[in-house]
């Protein structure tokens, strides 16, 4: 039995196709959870070396076309059952597909883990072995450096604080059961729940901030939105410096969201250009509009465009209401033309407003400044001690789950020995995050805290 692991197998550079590899006993099962074939057939019905066409689906209505390849043990790269999902390249699709796999039960693979498994299962020769060992060990050094950085930073202080809370609970429970005849303090359910909830609250903060932290590294999901033909695609092209969106004068040209990652003075934005929001009878365009609304709902940063040369319209007001209070910037475009817009209305509702002319490339520097200021206002400063990678976030999330389970089970009336196991598991994950070990800590804590012994 081996745990099923998943990772993006293609490089981080945007390419046409991204591959997510799942390996382990439950690879096919997990593949079937995230991949729906066009034919309706299950991956489990395939023999090895077969492929199917369909879609991968994840949370927040994420969906993308994909091809799934099935390899049956031992005929695969790792020698285990393997499913490879080939979806569109670029970070957004691949990350979301990986997330879907993790939500379906896979664990994120560690550096070199596929290769390690390939070795363990006798899929590689001695020479191959030696070259891969070098890679694995250098990865190890990198992760050690990352762990070191985490240990000394603010993140580790936050985590250490939570660990201390949990160790305190754990040591109290352990002393209470290991030294029943010494008068160690009696633990009540209410106290236990109270302490656990404190830890839960604190860790939730770290995880929530961590979601932003991951975004810093992986990019901030940003949508450009507004009525048709206010200049969204032009702005997109301007920011990305590429002709990705099709720019025409006909309203409704962009019918689907387009992904692009751009670097704004060190801040990575994952840009989605959306279809213009308006009521329409065009069936295809309606789907685009719906999708744009969804994209706005899940975005971390919203760039809302308005046309300076026209008065505010019903769709503009709707959009303003939709984004008020969210991390957003109102961009009043076509400032080179005669101003007809009631910009006071916008300024009242949206804190950050900039004037630009996308076509004349005016106001772009102000826009970039504004983007940085919004993202920093949202505590997106990379040095602020928040979780910065998926592995750390995964550890923190599992720890949080275990604390939640401990609270639920205490309320349910489970005995404390079982509760204790959940707390241990939470601690173990947090120590894994910062690179420490668990059991000795508890024992040391017991001795320093309680007067026990015959």
């Amino acid at each position: 039995m081996s745990e099923t692991i998943a990772a993006i197998a293609t490089g981080q550079d945007p390419g046409g196709i991204g591959v997510i590899r799942i390996s382990g006993n439950n690879a096919v099962e997990i593949g079937d959870k995230v991949f729906k074939s066009v034919s309706g057939k299950k991956l489990a019905s395939l023999s090895g070396y077969h492929a199917m066409y369909g879609r991968v689906e994840g949370k927040n209505d994420f969906s993308d076309e994909a091809v799934a390849l099935v390899f049956i043990s031992p005929h695969s790269y790792t020698g285990e059952d393997v499913v490879e999902l080939s979806c569109h390249g670029g970070r957004y699709s691949t990350e979301m597909t990986l997330k879907a796999c993790i939500d379906a039960g896979a664990r994120p693979a560690q550096a070199g883990e596929f290769t390690k498994r390939a070795f363990e299962n006798g899929k590689m020769s001695l020479t191959q072995a030696e070259s891969v060992m070098n890679i694995v060990s250098s990865n190890g050094k990198q992760s050690a450096m990352a762990a070191m950085a985490a240990r000394e930073g603010k993140l580790s202080k936050n985590i250490a604080e939570i660990c201390n809370m949990l160790k305190d609970i754990d040591a109290t429970l352990a002393a209470w059961s290991d030294f029943p005849e010494d008068d160690t303090p009696v633990v009540t359910e209410d106290e236990l729940i109270k302490s656990l909830e404190k830890a839960e609250e604190k860790l939730t903060e770290v995880v929530e901030a961590g979601k932003y932290g991951c975004l810093i590294q992986e990019g901030i999901r940003t949508v450009i939105c507004g009525r048709p033909n206010v200049g969204k695609s032009t702005l997109m092209n301007l920011l990305s410096g590429k002709e990705k969106s099709i720019v025409t004068d006909i309203p409704g040209t962009t019918r689907d969201t387009v992904d692009e990652s751009v670097n704004v003075d060190g801040c990575v934005l994952l840009l989605s250009d959306t279809a213009g929001i308006r009521e329409t009878n065009d069936k295809v365009e309606t789907i685009g509009v719906e999708r744009a609304k969804k994209a706005i709902e899940t975005a971390q940063l919203i760039l809302a465009l308005f046309d300076s040369s026209e008065e505010l319209q019903k769709e503009d007001i709707e959009l303003i209401d939709m984004i008020a209070g969210r991390p957003s910037i109102a961009i009043i475009n076509k400032s080179d033309k005669n101003k007809k817009i009631d910009d006071k209305y916008i300024l009242n509702k949206i804190k950050h407003t900039v004037y630009i002319s996308a076509r004349e490339e005016l106001g772009i520097e102000e826009l970039k400044k504004s983007i940085l200021s919004v993202t920093q206002l949202e505590n997106l400063d990379a040095a602020s001690g928040i979780i910065i990678n998926e592995r750390q976030l995964y550890c923190a999330k599992i720890a949080l789950e275990n604390i939640g389970k401990a609270i639920d089970d205490t309320k349910y009336g489970m005995t404390f020995d079982a509760i204790n196991v959940s707390i241990d598991n939470a601690l173990e994950k947090l120590f894994e995050l910062t690179g420490e070990r668990v059991s000795e800590e508890i024992v040391n804590e017991i001795f320093s805290k309680f007067c026990i012994g015959k």
Binding site: K116, F119, A174, W176, D178, Y412, D417, A418, S439, K454
Partner: protein
């Protein structure tokens, strides 16, 4: 003048709890065995508390029994009060502890050794241990020289023993026995690196000098169960224990006399156990605690000696008298044996393999306090393992390695040999990461197969174990299939136990999953229940109730087993493993782990190092 004496396969030095299990295991596995004791009247002595079991220690006793060891049987024979500790705290921490009659316990053990085929119990002090071409030579003080293949050292506090009471100190073993002094020197010459640990014990006092009228009583359980499945006699509670407390006066006496303690005077160099501090230690370390508890326990049936659990001390005798007399009910107490601290020689257990054989000295094994542990049960567990593996060595069989995932025995030994110890090691439930799986109630299921396969457990016992295990799983199956239909009676039971009533039929197993519900409470509505022993029902209930947790722990265990199956060849050259960090290389060279699982637990070996190591093993040794 030395003389050539009888040769043996296995010789055990010391007949305490470690030595006894070691000698019995070795003899029972067919090796010609001798066990040396410095004094024939101290075999299986309980020089500290007159009790067997306790938290995590109870687990060890059940495990020893499941493997065919003797401790549980001896405890059952001599039990005078039995209690299951932690009853309300969950099955993982249920721990049985019994007060025993010291003399009865010791006599049972001595007689068992005497009756054992292949085994000679011999009074003699071993003064020299030397290597020969194909084994070892042991020399007694009277000049007998025994050639043996394997030696198990189980010297306890006798080795280099020194007793401290105030400013008085002298060479001594426990309970006024001789210490073994020359053997330490011989071990040093051999190249063993010895260190000093210490432990202590409270005074024994005269029962009639205590006024019990104001003290709380502590009685045994109503329906005590035995440790050993072989025990047929009923376990009976024959005595009561009592609880007294220290107070401000006790504190004052101690504080006024601290300067007279050998501990604070710097005379004792040995490191004492953290969990077992002396009363003066407790008062210094926890000055805010107003009072400390003391259990007054009888040392046996035919004696009026009482043990004062919790109040060990190495203060001078006159201070001891004053401090005990400050305590409730002890105003006129008369000491029969004074409290003392004892220092002894032991080794660094990281010099051993998990088989308890020394890495540097083939055929030499250690067990018990000599290995840096503390406690009768911890000693017995190691003795059993050392005895098994010495016998297997003689028979040229692979050693039996117990895993953290199958037993507290495995956890104990792994902690000793992989993490090492800074102070005498005591077993605790919190030391096991798999404690919901490693329970007292399933010790047989976890270990009896090993016991049977190696030949310690008889076929009859094994068959009985197997039958009980099968009964348990049949009952779990039944509980999962049986539907209890809704009825007034059922809902009455549920409501009276503060859990929600049901409207439709509900599976028995789902009812049992509720914390408030147990088998007993459903007696009236569970009409198809088979007639099986209450203990088996309780075991089934634990498996059902904690199913989710047990499954999670089993997943972790399977992950560990994967690593433990990857054996590291003894002749591996870590310098040849490219990609290991320098610290990891050095640690691996020093610890010489037997498998990747053990390697991954060595501090200083990172997960990345483990990956590198696994890849190397795969590439080079195809394992």
């Amino acid at each position: 003048m030395n003389y050539k004496a009888e040769e043996y396969d296995v010789a055990v030095i010391g007949a305490g709890h470690a030595g006894i299990e070691a000698a019995l295991a070795s003899a029972r596995l067919g090796c010609k065995t001798v066990i040396f004791t410095i004094n024939m009247d101290s075999v299986g002595n309980l020089p500290c508390n007159p009790a067997i079991g306790g938290t995590a220690k109870g687990h060890l006793v059940f495990e020893i029994d499941a493997l065919g060891g003797e401790m549980g049987k001896a405890a059952d024979v001599s039990t005078i009060q039995s209690r299951m500790l932690n009853r309300g705290k969950g099955p993982a921490v249920h721990s049985m502890r019994v007060q025993v009659d010291r003399k009865m316990y010791s006599e049972y053990m001595k007689h068992t050794l005497e009756k054992q085929e292949n085994l000679l119990l011999r009074q003699a002090e071993i003064v020299a241990i030397e290597r020969t071409n194909n084994g070892w030579t042991l020399t007694t003080r009277l000049g007998a020289q025994h050639d043996v293949s394997c030696v198990i050292i189980a010297t306890g506090t006798y080795l280099g023993g020194r007793v401290f009471v105030g400013d008085v100190n002298y060479e001594s073993g426990p309970d006024g026995m001789f210490a073994a002094t020359q053997l330490s020197q011989s071990m040093k010459e051999l190249g063993l690196k010895l260190r000093r640990f210490k432990t202590g014990t409270p005074a024994r006092v005269l029962k009639s000098s205590i006024d019990f009228s104001g003290l709380d009583e502590q009685c045994g359980d109503e329906d005590p169960i035995p440790f050993s499945s072989a025990t047929e006699n009923e376990i009976e509670n024959k005595v009561k224990c009592y609880i007294s407390w220290t107070n401000d006066n006790t504190k004052k006496v101690i504080k006024d006399n601290l300067h007279r303690s050998p501990l604070y005077g710097g005379m004792i160099e040995g490191v004492g156990p953290r969990y077992c501090p002396s009363i003066e230690d407790k008062i210094v370390r926890f000055p805010d605690k107003p009072r400390h508890q003391c259990f007054i326990e009888p040392c046996g049936i035919n004696t009026d000696e009482m043990y004062l659990q919790g109040i060990s001390s190495s203060l001078p005798e006159d201070v001891q008298i004053s401090l005990y007399r400050t305590m409730d009910g002890m105003e006129n107490v008369k000491i029969m044996r004074s409290a003392y601290a004892i220092e002894y020689d032991c080794i660094d257990p990281t010099e051993m393999y998990p088989s308890l054989e020394f890495k540097e000295f083939e055929g030499l094994f250690g067990a018990g306090q000599f290995n840096g542990s503390s406690g009768y049960e911890e000693a017995a567990a190691q003795g059993l393992v050392a005895g098994i593996n010495a016998a297997r060595k003689v028979k040229k069989l692979e050693p039996i390695i117990f895993s953290r995932s199958n037993s507290y025995i495995g956890t104990l030994i792994d902690d000793l040999v992989t993490k090492g110890v800074m102070d005498p090691y005591r077993m605790m439930t919190s030391r096991s990461e798999y404690r919901l799986v490693l329970r007292q109630d399933n010790a047989q299921e976890r270990l009896s197969e090993i016991g049977y396969e190696i030949g310690l457990l008889s076929k009859e016992s094994y068959e009985i174990f197997k039958r009980n295990i099968a009964l348990k799983y049949e009952e779990i199956e039944r509980a999962k299939k049986t539907t209890i239909s809704p009825s007034e009676k059922l809902n009455e039971i549920l409501v009276s136990r503060e859990t929600t009533p049901v409207e439709t039929g509900v599976r028995l197993a789902d009812l049992l999953k509720r914390p408030q519900i147990n088998y007993k409470s459903l007696e009236e509505v569970d009409i198809t229940r088979p007639d099986i022993p209450q203990q088996i029902l309780e075991q089934a209930e634990v498996e059902i109730k904690y199913e989710g947790y047990i499954k999670r722990q089993m997943d972790q265990i399977n992950e560990l087993k994967r690593l433990e199956r990857k054996i590291i060849p003894k002749d591996i050259d870590y310098d040849d493993v490219k990609g290991l960090r320098l610290e990891a290389t050095e640690k691996l060279k020093k610890f010489r782990p037997i498998n990747v699982g053990q390697a991954s637990r060595i501090s200083g070996v990172s997960p990345a190092d483990v990956s590198v190591l696994m890849i190397y093993l795969k590439a080079k040794f195809h394992c």
